[in-house]
């Protein structure tokens, strides 16, 4: 792997120089076992302070609430500081000083444990994201699978939270979230499998190298995989339009009903943190990671990937502000009837293209042809499969019907309609 940046410790384009110098200095002083344990701790602290905490506070709490407010034709928070900038700090202080109630007949041990199990995987996800050519905490060769594996654990934590509260509404939220998450993992993994067929590797650093080598982002080469990832990970993250496990207008607060104070604060903070981790992973796989067609030689690559993460997170915020919430049966039928066949068809197309590529030993430029074909097929699949399933956009009324226009009363659904 070519290294674009120098090895001087003051070169901020590659912060691993600084960490290498610090660890070598420590290895001269402390015994080997202590440095062995201290290195990942330092890496975690560095990632947390540089990437996660500022992104969470500024983009996640403040930016999200301001942008959603503007989308909904209102100001976001603007009372606490100038333009509401002190809002995240005020929120943290309020949550820390609030009493964390536990109901009398709830399962205390599990209720205490659930936020911890929710926080740990979301933090672990940042370990495999490459922030630069050598700035990666854990360059494991199966990083893609690591992401899928670790993202199945917060779901169990949410279920534990919902069950232990001894509350009907919490149990509804818990059941909804595990059925949602398990259903949407299947098209998510099938979409990522299509990506692996092209890049021939599961490691995230190698995927960024692939995108740099072929000068194409994987979002253009496989748009169906990107859409499947975006929707699938949006469901795993429990974000609107699919936040029915925590729906504020339906089931009080779903699995979070009985949580208050900093326990709720951990869930809320890691909601944002997990979304940032998924956005960082999506930017690495689909949007090119720390590479930017040569710009990463002057601009520090970690700034590039943090920027792309925030852009991806803005897509999450935009979807949240715009779309209404789905019902659970609409959500499930969307996963099993629409997304799974599209994922399988996508896999078939990608495997065929890969076979043509390998057997005829084609040049590198064939990727652009495949990208064009994939984009056309993605639009065709979207249009034709949804028509096949019965969705007719021309039948949607242009404006809502008034009751008097419909003849004085609106007939109740009898259960025999097809839509």
């Amino acid at each position: 792997m070519s290294s674009l940046v120098t090895s001087n410790w003051y070169d901020i384009r590659d912060l691993s120089n600084i960490s290498r110098d610090i660890l070598e200095g420590l290895a001269n002083v402390l015994p080997h076992g202590v440095v062995y344990v201290l290195a990942p701790v330092l890496g975690f602290i560095a990632t947390f302070i540089l990437v996660v905490l500022p992104s969470q506070l500024i983009v996640g709490v403040y930016g999200e609430r301001k942008i959603i407010g503007r989308v909904q034709s209102r100001f976001g928070p603007n009372r606490v500081g100038p333009f509401g900038l002190v809002q995240p700090i005020a929120d943290s202080i309020k949550l820390m000083q609030k009493e964390a109630l536990t109901p009398k007949y709830a399962d205390r041990a599990i209720m205490w444990l659930a936020p911890i199990i929710f926080v740990a995987p979301c933090v672990m996800l940042f370990a495999v994201i490459p922030f630069g050519p050598r700035m990666i905490l854990a360059n494991i060769p199966v990083a893609l699978l690591y992401f899928v594996a670790v993202s199945s654990m917060p779901v169990l934590a949410a279920f534990m939270a919902g069950w232990s509260a001894n509350n009907k509404y919490s149990l509804f939220g818990a059941i909804r979230i595990i059925s949602m998450a398990v259903s949407y993992e299947v098209p998510l993994v099938l979409g990522l499998l299509g990506i692996v067929l092209f890049t021939q590797t599961l490691s995230l650093q190698d995927m960024v190298e692939w995108q740099r080598h072929y000068h194409i982002w994987l979002i253009a080469a496989e748009p169906v995989a990107f859409v499947l990832y975006f929707i699938g990970v949006g469901v795993e993250l429990n974000r609107t339009p699919t936040d029915i496990a925590e729906a504020e207008s339906e089931i009080v607060a779903g699995y979070l009903t009985e949580y208050s104070g900093m326990k709720w604060g951990l869930f809320y903070g890691m909601d944002i943190g997990y979304a940032l981790a998924a956005a960082a992973f999506g930017s690495t796989v689909f949007l090119g990671g720390w590479s930017m067609f040569g710009l990463d030689h002057w601009v520090p690559p970690w700034m590039i990937i943090i920027g792309k993460t925030h852009l991806f997170y803005f897509l999450f915020i935009w979807t949240r502000g715009t779309l209404p919430r789905l019902r659970i049966d609409q959500l499930m039928s969307f996963a099993w009837k629409f997304m799974l066949p599209v994922a399988l068809f996508n896999l078939l197309v990608i495997a065929t293209e890969r076979m043509i590529w390998v057997q005829n030993d084609l040049a590198d430029g064939i990727v652009y042809v495949f990208a064009a074909v994939n984009i056309v097929l993605a639009l065709a699949a979207l249009v034709f499969w949804s028509r096949f399933l019965g969705y007719r956009p021309e039948n949607t009324p242009k404006k809502p019907r008034m009751v008097r226009e419909a003849g004085g009363y609106v007939p109740l659904p009898t259960g025999k309609e097809t839509r």
Binding site: V142, V148, V150, S152, L171, I175, I178
Partner: protein
């Protein structure tokens, strides 16, 4: 395996796994037993990572922790009138005695055998597993997919209510 890291990792993982397996056995609440089972699965995944089988470790977490544990939790949720107290059956003591004897026999055999081990472990990656599954063991691979389809269809058929069957019956 030499060194501080693998040794500490091995003892930490075995403590985690065996204590949680004991928790499955001894806890007084069925849901706590399921949660101990999930921790056991994660401990076993830790063993796989110690043995350089990262792909199998992550597959274990995805399938066991992500899917099978969810199945068991759904089963516990959907049987509300069953006993949730994780009690023992009448024939528990002979069963536990049998397990202890078997553990003693296995430990003796393992200690006594002259294992023929390699000096350096083979380098087994995800791609070599993929090649093996599609090259040498392609037939079991295809049979596993048939088995999964049969299990899927069978499980759905077993839990259908007569009304749902009547809806889909051929007219």
């Amino acid at each position: 395996m030499e060194g501080f890291g693998p040794t500490f990792g091995f003892y930490a993982m075995s403590a985690l796994t065996l204590v949680s397996a004991g928790g499955v056995m001894l806890s007084r609440n069925l849901l706590h037993a399921v949660l101990f089972l999930i921790v056991t699965f994660i401990g076993v995944a830790g063993f796989y990572i110690l043995l350089s089988a990262e792909f199998i470790a992550l597959a274990q977490i995805i399938i066991y922790v992500g899917a099978i544990s969810v199945l068991v939790l759904f089963a516990v949720l959907l049987t509300p009138r069953a006993g949730r107290d994780n009690g023992e059956t009448k024939m528990a003591l002979p069963g536990i005695f049998l397990a202890v004897c078997l553990a003693a026999v296995l430990a003796f055999v393992i200690n006594d055998t002259n294992w023929a081990t390699v000096a350096t472990s083979p380098e087994l990656t995800a791609s070599s597993l993929g090649e093996a599954l599609l090259d040498a063991w392609a037939l079991p691979f295809e049979m596993a997919s048939v088995l999964l389809t049969a299990a899927l269809v069978g499980a759905i058929m077993l839990v259908r209510t007569p009304e749902e069957e009547a809806e889909d019956a051929l007219r």
